[in-house]
């Protein structure tokens, strides 16, 4: 007999969020965005572990961005132990990160953001009317997945990247086959830019906003660069803690990032594009023009446009790296030595920071991880504080939806077990 059981499937434990608005006489009196950040727990978990266990552990912090955590940890550990790597290793790492970026952006645009802008409750509801668009997303996703698996050895938690290099590298012919698929995928990426350009975005810009992204001397930033901003920040990884501080604002449990002496800041695709417009490839510039948008743009709802432009940039970048790849066998050799090292990278959702102190035996004595969501949390709340008063006249479900849309712009690394925002609207005197 078939037994029907009611199963409340749990969301994966990658964090939780709740938003509470206090409204009195039609005016917003208070707003609390409470988020929960798992990376904090991993920091303590890493202390006492050997350095070579770290990449695999941090890859499990996040099911969506395993490669970003892994590569950033490896680079920080190499800085700590004074390990140098070849240009080929840097290129393979960049490709691994780009493979993940392509998947993440394709899924964000089609599965998360487009349903909002086109007025569907979910990607599944949208798929009936936009079947071809959803297929496009799945093709891009599959390509990013196969690209990740070829370099990382596994699609889910890549395993080949280690301190000092790679335990296995692909044959040039295998990468060229991916290259051919990437060339074919360019049409899908350009079609994405055109579709995104046709959307009407809510008009909202918060005054005085600080956008922060990495900046590389030649490339569009992925795994390397200095952290810069539109308000003059310009620091290397070793200077991070002298400039970025975290504060806790009760009742929220999260630690929120602030630039010392200033305020909150925004990281992510929009900040990255705004601060690196001159690093776009000709094809990506073509995509930008196709969208019809003007950049720099500080409207958080334009993040979907930035992602579409970046999708073209990431494919183009991957193709350039594949063309020059030789597949030269290299041994992974390095010394273990005591030291402290930090690194940051541009994960799909913005700057990710890792720092480690290891002793002479290679045992981790201190770990510091700040995810893009931790960088953005304070900024998300500021956006909501300014945005919410403009929509308070709407019915309650509409307010919740608009606030959710604002949060989805950031695609934060938290998801509550109830699957959607737990919105608590306390109305009085109205």
């Amino acid at each position: 007999m078939t037994k029907t059981i009611k199963v409340e499937y749990m969301a994966r434990v990658e964090g939780e969020a709740s938003l509470s608005l206090d409204v009195e006489g039609g005016e917003l009196k208070g707003l609390t965005l409470d988020i929960y950040e798992p990376p904090r727990f991993f920091q303590g978990f890493l202390v006492g572990r050997k350095y070579d266990e770290v990449p695999d552990i941090v890859a499990r912090i996040c099911g969506i961005c395993p490669a970003a955590h892994e590569l950033t940890a490896i680079q920080a550990l190499e800085t700590a132990m004074g390990v140098q790597v070849s240009q080929q290793v840097k290129d393979l790492r960049r490709m691994l990160a780009l493979a993940q970026d392509i998947q993440s952006h394709a899924l964000h645009i089609y599965m998360l953001a487009l349903p909002d802008f086109l007025g569907y409750e979910s990607a599944i509801a949208m798929a009936t009317d936009y079947g071809e668009a959803v297929q496009r997303a799945l093709r891009l996703k599959k390509l990013g997945n196969d690209f990740t698996e070829l370099i990382g050895g596994r699609a889910v938690h890549p395993v080949t990247a280690v301190v000092g290099g790679f335990t296995h590298i692909p044959a040039p012919a295998e990468l060229h086959a991916i290259g051919q698929r990437l060339e074919a995928a360019m049409d899908d990426a350009m079609a994405t830019a055109a579709l995104v350009g046709s959307l009407t975005l809510p008009d909202f810009v918060r005054g005085g906003i600080e956008h922060v992204a990495l900046r590389h001397p030649e490339q569009y930033p992925v795994n390397e660069g200095r952290m810069i901003s539109n308000l003059g920040l310009d620091i290397g990884p070793a200077e991070y803690r002298a400039h970025i501080r975290e504060w806790q604002f009760p009742p929220s449990h999260a630690l929120w990032s602030t630039i010392i002496g200033r305020s909150c800041f925004t990281v992510g695709p929009l900040a990255r594009l705004n601060l690196n417009l001159d690093r776009l490839s000709p094809k990506a510039r073509e995509a930008l023009e196709l969208t019809g948008h003007q950049f720099p743009d500080y409207n958080p709802f334009a993040s979907i446009v930035a992602r579409a432009v970046e999708l073209v940039q990431f494919i183009d970048d991957s193709l350039a790296l594949i063309r020059r790849y030789e597949g030269r066998p290299e041994e992974v050799v390095h010394q273990v030595r005591a030291g402290t090292g930090a690194a940051f990278s541009e994960a799909p959702r913005g700057i990710l920071y890792h720092s480690y102190t290891v002793n002479a035996q290679g045992i981790v004595e201190a770990a510091d991880i700040v995810s893009p969501t931790a960088h953005n949390a304070h900024s998300m709340e500021h956006d909501l504080r300014e945005y919410a008063p403009t929509i308070l006249h709407l019915p309650e479900p509409e307010i919740a939806l608009k606030c959710e849309m604002m949060i989805r712009n950031y695609d934060p690394c938290f998801s509550c077990s109830a699957h959607f925002l737990k919105l608590k609207l306390n109305r009085s005197g109205s």
Binding site: K6, E8, V13, F42, I64, P412, C416
Partner: protein, 158 residues
């Protein structure tokens, strides 16, 4: 081919039970075992082309911790709204989307083996009831794999 997919976060106490269980299942001819962790929509790529899939995951249904569940995708609740981020995409969304847009790549037979969990604190270990039930979960996976090929369980037909 049959794929056995362990889902969950290994470093969040009982949430990793599905991954721990599939680790004890050896790969044999025609059986691929995958420690998927939290793959989101990546699940679709892991299932693509398989004839049969056994998904092993943590479940919260109000039953006592350690209770084992066996059900087909039809028993999963329907989710109507969007998650807040891609991190919120779970097995329900992935299977629903796969059935809708890529049905030809989905395994004709999907069985979900769940284990009721108690604790999902990051950094924690398995709670006693889940640790005790884990060998039974592993035995349950083995039983699925021992079924003759072509046998479609009635649970999975829904």
């Amino acid at each position: 081919m049959t794929v056995v997919v362990g889902c969950g976060n290994l470093f969040c106490a009982d949430d990793g039970a599905g991954v721990l269980a599939v680790r004890q299942v050896p790969e044999t001819e025609g059986v691929r075992v995958i420690e998927a962790g939290c793959p989101g929509l990546g699940l679709l790529d892991l299932l693509a082309g398989a004839r049969r899939a056994v998904l092993v995951d943590a479940v919260l249904s109000g039953a006592p911790p350690g209770t084992l569940h066996r059900f087909g995708p039809g028993a999963l609740p329907v989710r109507e709204s969007l998650p807040l981020s891609l991190h919120g995409v779970n097995l329900i969304d992935a299977l629903a989307l796969g059935r809708l847009v890529a049905p030809e790549t989905m395994p004709p037979e999907i069985i979900i083996l769940g284990i009721e969990i108690a604790d999902r604190t990051p950094g924690g270990g398995l709670s006693p009831a889940v640790a005790v039930a884990l060998p039974q979960l592993v035995a349950g996976i083995q039983r699925e794999l021992e079924q003759p090929r072509g046998h479609v369980s009635r649970h999975a037909l829904r």
